[in-house]
Amino acid sequence: MKGKRKKEEKEKIIRAEDEWEPIGHTPMPHVTDLRNWDRRLLETYKPFYAPFCDLCCLCTYGKCDLTGTNRGACGIDISAQQGRIVTLACCMGMSAHAGHAAHIIDYLIEKHGEDYPIDLGDQVNVECPNIRTVLGLKPKTLRDLKTAVQYAAEQLVHVVSSTHTGQEGDAVDYESKALHISMLDHVCMEAADVAQIIGFKFPTSVADTPLVDMGWGSIDRKKPVILVVGHNPASSSEIIDYLRNKGLEDKVEVAGICCTALETTRYSNKAKVVGPLSRQLFFVRAGIADVIVADEQCIRTDLTDEASKVGSVVIASSDKACRGLEEVSDKPTDEVVKAMVDKGEHCLILDHEKAAEVAVEAALKIAPKRKKEEPIDEKKAIELAKACAACGSCTQVCPNLLPVGPAIQKLAEGDAEPFKQVFENCIGCGKCEEACPHGVPIFKLMQAVASWDTWKCRVGRGPVMDTEIRKVGAPIVLGTIPGVIALVGCSNFPNEIDEIAEMVDEFARRKYIVVLTGCSAMTVGMRKDKEGKTIYEKYPGDFDAGGVVNIGSCVSNAHITGAAMKIANIFANLPLRANYEVIADYVLNRVGAVGVAWGAMSQKAASIATGCNRLGIPVVLGPHSAKYRRLYLSRKEEGDWTVMDGRKKELVDTEEPSPEHLAIVTESKERAMVMIAKLCIRKNDTQPGRQIKLNHYIDLYKKFFGTLPDDLHHFVRTERDIPMFFKKEVKQFLQEKGWKPKPVLSLPTLIGTYETEVPVEATIR
């Protein structure tokens, strides 16, 4: 929607009269305002579709078979249908964060009032780079954060409506809408986390956050145990407050799974982290929790059934996941607790203070009555495994293709090692046990062989500090810090613990900056080196070369894109305000940041990654993520790598495919590591910076593939780019390839290579 009234409305919302920065070209952009930027990006990084389903069954015209050149009854083809489904997935992901943000902001406004100020400490002045860049608003209060989420929600309505039958019909336009809504996902995540940080007084402006215990071996089973599951810290923080007020903090264990675990440890370092999402069913079935408080997102939908089996009770505390339970928010606490204790009743409580009180009081009464089952010993485990008839049903249904059946057979023979391996790689979906026709209790067996080790997780620290950006901005942009690697989101991938820990270790050792969020941030702590140290004990938590930084939960992902924006703002002095194209162009061409979503499962991961893509940050995905259906791939030899030389205002064919892809699936951790190193290369790299980046790329490639990279000639601009250590062999390789020097630009930009109102001058300060 364009028009004078709309413009005035936007100016009022963003307080245009505040002159903190000039207003850029796209304040509060509507769905199509950044369409040309998207189309330019997708010219180079074309959508690659791998349809997961050949049909469309969204309306009563169908089912329609869209195979090959077939079209649906409405006229849609298979490409547009993939774009449509991807758009829907991104809308689902964004709406989860928008819903979280809207709820937590309202909850905190109830507590503190609308005018509660945003203060992220003395080291963070650029408080909300995403909101500043996208909306053009410099938020000052909780009310302003609510305004940002309301704007994003309005955009969501427009984008979801485009997926209705007979609306959008072009794949690239669908992708533009997915990019738009995913950019706004980062706005919503930022609003949610900043609200949480100020409202709950989470750590901020500090790098060295505490280390907390992780693993269910760290939980004292003799105490009443409250498990919090999900993403929203409203209930868990109320639980901590209730325990503190009653002097019970050392008498009741509070442990968390998934992002609520990270949030709760940001509130209390006595809280324990059970582990990532993949440990949910295992832990619930272990029966260690007396009360389970579920909030929102990534909660198993069979949670109440599973809890009932082991005598735990569930309090659902979010309107997004009522789970068919009776709402008892207005009933007296004693009455609710009695029903839970005497009858094992689960309930829905939408008042978080009340939910906390009920959770603690119920846990105190239930715990003494329950006989918590001890894990079965090895002898018993072997006995139970002997019921296996080697039918292979369990192996057949495993989504991670794990050899469950053969491992059970080995266990029956007395060898538990293969089964331990299966447990370590298991995502805990429970399909194997469900499929077993002989009733082998596969889950119990896994618990029996599971390690009782405990680990350490660093508490999430929120935004990267402005002072850190000042220090590392130049080396990142010049290339002398070879890259920022962000391992984000779920960890539902094969060999999750080993692979993610190995990747983090490899890049931290090579002095990249490694940041982590969500389940990946927990997973990485679940591996110890020979000295018994976890990654968090081995590397510092600074946003600096060789640092390993736990940024926080899912919503903290916005601080990663925020850090990239801050580099443009604080180091390069580019204004953020409503200046998305310029900032994204800067990040794409000059900031060597790469996202890694190795175990991505959810729709949220789709929108988080797609939001990174619009900002020019490439994302590497694990093998099963091909089921997201869409990647953004270039063709390095056939692609057009022309950019504008911002200083000379001339188009230059750089012949350099950097970054080579925006979203790619890799098959193995080895390949992923090589790809990550390559995707850190940027056209703006100085020659010493390029030497360092190529040194790592070549070294990793040789380590895993045995030779120099096949495509090395594409990334050597002049002989001065060649790392000293490999000089001789690289020169010989280049000669064989018929390599010729390429242009080196100090100010590469896409602005000026497509239709945009933004002048080339806007890229220079």
């Binding site: 089912k63 099963h624 098959e667």
Partner: protein
């Protein structure tokens, strides 16, 4: 199952691969191809057939019919150890992205491939990659050599429960291609 008159109500949506249990017709199909390509993935390094790595069978097939190899993931190193230099190294989605283009010059610069064999790709990723080719690459045919059925290929081996049956087929294929 019998289909009702109005297919729109029951379409399953998979144009299924032809299941190939016999090596002889498979060898004939491959021999007919003008520019075949063998894509080898990392599962070929992990999977053994009666003690012999799957990748060695794939190398035998490539040698028997002089088929160029695209090494995906980190398979290149092992191929070099086996004395086989792959013509190209890509991620599987990258080679599939190139194969979609009928004008692509192929791994040897002689033109796009008309027949692509896959071995050693994870089943989920492999089937997604084959889905791309099924929909967007009508100019080529695909075939899988793993011991699982891949519905999105044109030709696939069945789900083998017995390793010896899979081994027999692969060995028969090598013999048939010589």
């Amino acid at each position: 199952m019998p289909h009702p008159q109005h297919l729109v109500n029951i379409l399953t949506g998979i144009k299924g691969a032809m299941e190939m249990k016999d090596a002889t017709p498979l060898a004939k199909i491959i021999k007919k191809a003008e520019r075949p390509l063998l894509v080898i993935g990392p599962r070929a390094l992990e999977v053994e057939i009666e003690g012999r790595p799957f990748i060695e069978y794939l190398v035998d097939i490539a040698k028997a019919a002089n088929i160029p190899i695209c090494a995906t993931a980190h398979t290149k190193k092992k191929l070099l150890e086996l004395g086989m230099t792959p013509e190209s190294t890509y991620d599987v989605v990258e080679i599939v992205n190139a194969l979609k283009d009928a004008e692509w010059k192929g791994v040897k610069g002689e033109g796009c491939h008309d027949f692509v064999l896959f071995g050693g790709i994870r089943t989920d990723l492999g089937n997604q990659a084959l889905s791309t080719l099924k929909h967007f690459a009508p100019h080529l045919k695909t075939m899988t050599l793993c011991k699982y059925y891949y519905p999105n290929a044109n030709f696939s081996l069945p789900n083998y429960k017995k390793e010896e049956e899979w081994k027999a087929l692969l060995e028969g294929l090598v013999a048939g291609l010589k």
